[in-house]
Symmetry: C2
Subunit: 249 residues, 2 copies
């Protein structure tokens, strides 16, 4: 069922009341999920947390111990509700200190470097900055915790910077195939196939198009040859059930 | 900082490898977040979990003890990767049994009721079914845990059914206002206002439109008069800073 249990594991923490209240539709998780898969990091969990210091500190400490990598988004701006840096410092038992390199980044901007903006240059002692091409305010890394912005374009730019610096596993590849039969008709033969391939994860996602029920099957794993084999077996099985399955990438 | 700490609390568990892999963009959380707010339930956390029995069981048990209500989405279909009902049964130490009312629901459909489809009528002993207008397969409730479909339209239809049956708090209202000044310029006066109103949550979300920086402020709480007062104070303060703030709903 699980893909390559030796691969490094990851967890994403999306920080911000706006995601829990329904004001904001998060899009960072989908981006990070697909990027981590291509780096061979198994994203095993994501959590959406409110702007609450106790909850963030407790969760960061639990997750940095449970997973190889933790990625946070949100809460690193200049306003009172941006508390992520302080929470990470508390979680690690480190001081929040003014980082001169971060100050230099902020000075590139045209805005006056007032107290509020200077707050964005305070990071936990011993942090490595994560610069990016879109914003003068950097993210930062403390040990296995990577702290990114919440604004999607900036989160992406920061992830591109950090991706070069982390140890990765075999890329997790996937194959897609559309079956034009209702899920209930393919469930039993599909389970038989799934049970034969322990290192391959097969997901079935139902759809209804033009009044017809079908399922999009996703086959994931690190071994390209094995994925091809499973895909071929599914195509053959579905043909026997009377469907001409359409294999995608 | 937190809105009405006496209100019932909620947690959402989004279950499915497809959300963590980046294949699927979740939209259920935004819907549930806004619905729960209008019911006066404070959504304090959401988690995205893989199709892994141990992880789901452990998380359900932790969350049903930590929060007043837990809502899950995903994993209640007929295929091998649909394991939510079994996990909920295990978490509660109950048997997974064939529910005759659920069988009756499934019989409404035009499909043959084979073993795979019948799987959708197995729910933990003592569950209450959550019927819905879109699908013949029901969701179910065990104590404070509500189990919904992953398909967004069906999750919504199920939520509409269950919403009538849960004890709720004062609706959490919100006001929106756009400030046409960069966040760094409004952070200090905004913090002063935020620190005066403990029962009101003020969030600041930066934007850039037509090359101009600004921030959307969200004021949340249960007391309409207090929200109006905070809004007026923000508008006055921003006017002093030179901005004509645009108040929304």
């Amino acid at each position: 069922m699980t893909t390559n249990s030796l691969a490094p594991t990851g967890c994403v923490l999306l920080i911000g009341n706006e995601i829990l209240s329904g004001k904001t539709q998060d899009v960072n998780l989908q981006y990070l999920g697909s990027q981590l898969a291509s780096l061979g990091i198994r994203l095993l969990e994501a959590r959406v947390l409110p702007d609450d210091k106790d909850i963030i500190v407790m969760t960061v400490n639990q997750c940095r111990s449970d997973f190889d990598y933790v990625f946070t988004t949100g809460g690193i701006g200049p306003t009172h509700d941006d508390i992520t840096a302080q929470c990470i410092a508390t979680a690690f038992g480190r001081e929040l200190i003014l980082n001169e390199d971060a100050v230099a980044c902020l000075r590139r901007g045209s805005f006056e470097l007032n107290e509020a903006r200077l707050k964005m240059a305070y990071v936990p002692e011993g942090s490595t900055l994560i610069e990016n091409s879109l914003s003068n305010a950097p993210g930062f890394r403390v040990e296995n915790v990577f702290v990114l912005a919440g604004v999607p374009s900036i989160a992406r730019a920061m992830f591109e910077t950090l991706a070069a610096d982390i140890a990765v596993g075999e890329p997790i590849r996937s194959k897609n195939i559309d079956i034009h039969l209702p899920e209930g008709d393919i469930a039993a033969p599909l389970e038989q196939i799934a049970s034969k391939y322990e290192d391959v994860e097969i997901g079935s996602y139902p759809f209804k198009r033009d009044g017809q029920f079908g399922a999009n099957l996703v086959i994931r794993g690190t071994d390209e040859q094995q994925l091809q084999k499973v895909l071929a077996e599914i195509v053959e099985t579905m043909a026997e059930l009377g469907d001409e399955a359409t294999a995608g990438l």
